[in-house]
Symmetry: C2
Subunit: 477 residues, 2 copies
């Protein structure tokens, strides 16, 4: 395999290469779509398991809605169709015939799901109504990038209807909090949470909440969003309920999604020159055991110990494999498993068997002194658990420090704008709220990533009038 | 809600009604597609959990392949395209433009996956190569029936490549055995396993194995299949590997799928006049607790006990809900939960609280004497577990008896053919192997469901020549 491109010099190429070399993804014959290979898909499965549990805890139930949506449905919500029309894939023929009405392959399911809600919701007793689906969606992508921008991607989409705006708003915030929890606690990616400006919000939303990450190249990445839709879709699809007071009302809806894009964020946030680095909580493989064989005479004993350790760790609930391939040297194996970002390597050789010990090697290299440690096999469960725990914490802390190092306070666009090439990052500034000022950021290829809760800056970054709100400005993926 | 149609007189209408009334499914605005509602989807999730584990135990890894397949790919395997062409949905426009090459929405993924295999498989060391995906597929359906025949359905599709025919054959058989295990042990549906005749096998397969169920109306239902594809796809997509002996060879492939159709089979197999009956192992809700309140004075104590029992059973790993709706009478609740087929109802009233007991009511009515039992709350975990276990066994045994009662040995088509209207069922007969004899069954709207391993009959059901193999003949869904 070819050496990975320099991560500091050519971050974009490094990203493109590492995901292929590590076996996470492959190109498909259809432009813009990708094959998520087993090592990439296992991360998605781990994410699904934790996120699905959290979603169910909110009282949301899973369901499944059709892939195809009548084209006329999209058109019922004016802003929605305006936003999605350029990205639609359209089925015009099926069953050997031209269809009377073309069918759109869902780019998101608001229109289908809120149509169904109109059949199901009749009374305040039916509210809140909360469903979620795990599904594939299609948005035609002119400049595809694996995981980050793909014509087809996987996600969950939650859709809810509520009697009041406050409840729908709480739901959207709760979803964003759950996403932040998964991102920070599992993927070890720190995020800035806020609200999208009107020009960046979801097509059809009243308000879009967002979690924004900062990648090592200083570009922001929108990780996931949740929306308060108000009555845009519930009016268009005629959802009505009889309230406690007997009046017929229109519910307030929310929707929220978490996608395979987060796998791309994971790769970028933690990877290094040797390859991927997987946070232990989400790693498909948490530790790989590699037998160190020199003389044939040692083989049986070493392999026996390797098997014993593997069984023990597996029974303790850790995801462990043993690499017993006899056609490869230990060095070649080290290289492969570092490329895949397995957090811990366990080496067992004849001397280790003698001493009933093993060597634990930490994939993360920032603290060389702690990189290798000898541990007793009798206590290896606890040793590995402790090391995995530490790695998880350290990855998050390192990522947080990197974010902080690239998070700047600034005042005037004319000052920070020109710096954004050399000192790329997030700039917290004041904003008057005028879309014209926001549009001026195009000159620096930057955008408002989100509006913040706190207010530190008194004047707008552009017009110098009074600021209404602090915002985060950055170049973005 | 309207009364369910008579299950004995109008089985088809009963089926159509019960799945809607029980909240499993709803019609969608796109013909042939359906919404799987939470109560239906929960069954699929339970099936996924057990089946996914079994699939992984075979060394198969999950991955995800694109929804869209270039139209030219389908055409690479002549029989495959011939079989699927009439059912394809085709995307002709995307991203606001007409596509140069139309894209087919996958009806199954052999062509995409084996194309990818040709990029991944190089050496005998890569074999066997085993992947599986959980996905939606689309086959345009002119006569849709919820769960049983739908334009879009959910499934898993496993695809494997092997160095030898024997290995691929073993894999296909192993998949069929896993399916049979899930069907019989979880869904409590007995099946007859066998091989499809050439005219009924999968388009592009060398050999198709099948599990066939028999529904209460005497019609057979193909539950799921597995295929030995030989080199049909591996040749078409140019998959090559260097074998141990240095020679370049073409691998033998297998594929196998299990779909949401099995939920329809579950409904038909166990349902009764009162509604669904859920086998406990797969039931979304295994028991529902209903407080029996008469005087307001009892309320607090009864509800406290209901909550206590719910907590205790939930902690013991059982799926239990309490129905505390105060706008409904206990009788109305009994009706609703019987309709949903929850295997056990737990009633707790003031007298039960006094005696520290609860009433367990078995949803399955065949043995009235055992329908109701009083159990001590102190031992309710064990009592409920035992009852759920018994119900699971009894459902399977009952279904098996019904199958046996409609499984006939027969000799000549002219004898059993005319009987198939009044005595619908499976007929085991001898067959010479000639497709012409098979075609004669059309006169009775019957087909060969599968070829069996055993041979009891000496002459062909049609031509009376020597029989090559015993087959099962039935009308089918």
């Amino acid at each position: 395999m070819e050496k990975l491109p320099d991560i500091n010099q050519n971050f974009a190429e490094w990203y493109q290469e590492v995901i292929y070399q590590a076996g996470m993804i492959d190109q498909s014959p259809v432009k813009g779509t990708f094959v998520i290979m087993p090592y990439g898909y296992a991360i998605w499965e781990n994410l699904q398991a934790v996120l699905d549990k959290k979603i169910k805890e909110t009282g949301t139930q899973n369901a499944y809605f059709p892939l195809f949506i009548p084209e006329s449905f999209l058109k019922k919500e004016a802003k929605h169709v305006e936003g999605f029309a350029p990205e639609l894939a359209v089925v015009t023929h099926a069953g050997g015939q031209k269809l009377e009405e073309p069918l759109v392959v869902r780019p998101t399911s608001e229109t289908m799901i809120y149509y169904m809600f109109s059949r199901w919701i009749k009374s305040w007793r039916d509210l809140p109504y909360k469903v979620n689906q795990w599904a594939n969606v299609v948005r035609w992508e002119m400049r595809p990038r694996a995981f980050l921008r793909t014509t087809e991607f996987l996600w969950q989409e939650g859709h809810t209807a509520h009697a009041t705006h406050a409840e729908a708003d709480d739901m959207a915030k709760q979803a964003l909090d759950i996403y932040k929890f998964i991102l920070e606690e599992y993927l070890a990616i720190p995020v800035i949470s806020g609200i999208k400006s009107d020009s960046e919000k979801f097509a059809g939303a009243h308000c879009t909440y967002t979690n924004e990450g900062l990648m090592p190249d200083g570009k922001a990445l929108q990780m996931c969003t949740s929306h308060v839709l108000n009555q845009s879709f519930s009016s268009s699809f005629d959802i009505k309920f009889q309230d406690v007071d007997g009046q017929v009302k229109t519910p307030i809806c929310s929707s929220w999604g978490f996608t395979t894009r987060t796998i791309g964020a994971l790769v970028m946030t933690h990877g290094d020159q040797a390859g991927l680095v997987m946070p232990p909580k989400i790693a498909p493989i948490q530790a790989v055991i590699i037998p160190i064989l020199k003389a044939d005479a040692d083989k049986a004993l070493v392999l026996q110990k390797v098997e014993y350790v593997k069984q023990m760790l597996t029974q303790a609930g850790m995801r462990v494999v043993a690499d017993l391939d006899e056609t490869k040297t230990p060095g070649a194996k080290f290289y492969d498993w570092e490329l895949k970002g397995v957090p811990v390597r366990i080496e067992i050789g004849p001397k280790d068997v003698e001493k009933n010990q093993a060597v634990l090697v930490n994939r993360v290299e920032q603290d060389k002194t702690k990189k290798k440690q000898f541990v007793a096999i009798d206590g290896i469960n606890a040793s590995l658990e402790k090391l995995l725990f530490d790695i998880q914490i350290n990855l998050f802390e390192s990522a947080k420090k990197r974010l902080q190092a690239k998070y700047f306070e600034a005042e005037k666009m004319t000052d920070f704008g020109p710096k954004m090439d050399s000192e790329n990052g997030m700039y917290q500034v004041g904003w008057c709220g005028d879309a014209k000022c926001e549009a001026e950021l195009k000159a620096y290829k930057a955008t408002i990533r989100c509006l913040l809760n706190e207010q530190k800056h008194e004047t707008c970054f552009c017009c110098s009038k009074l600021s209404n709100v602090d915002v985060v400005v950055a170049k973005a993926y």
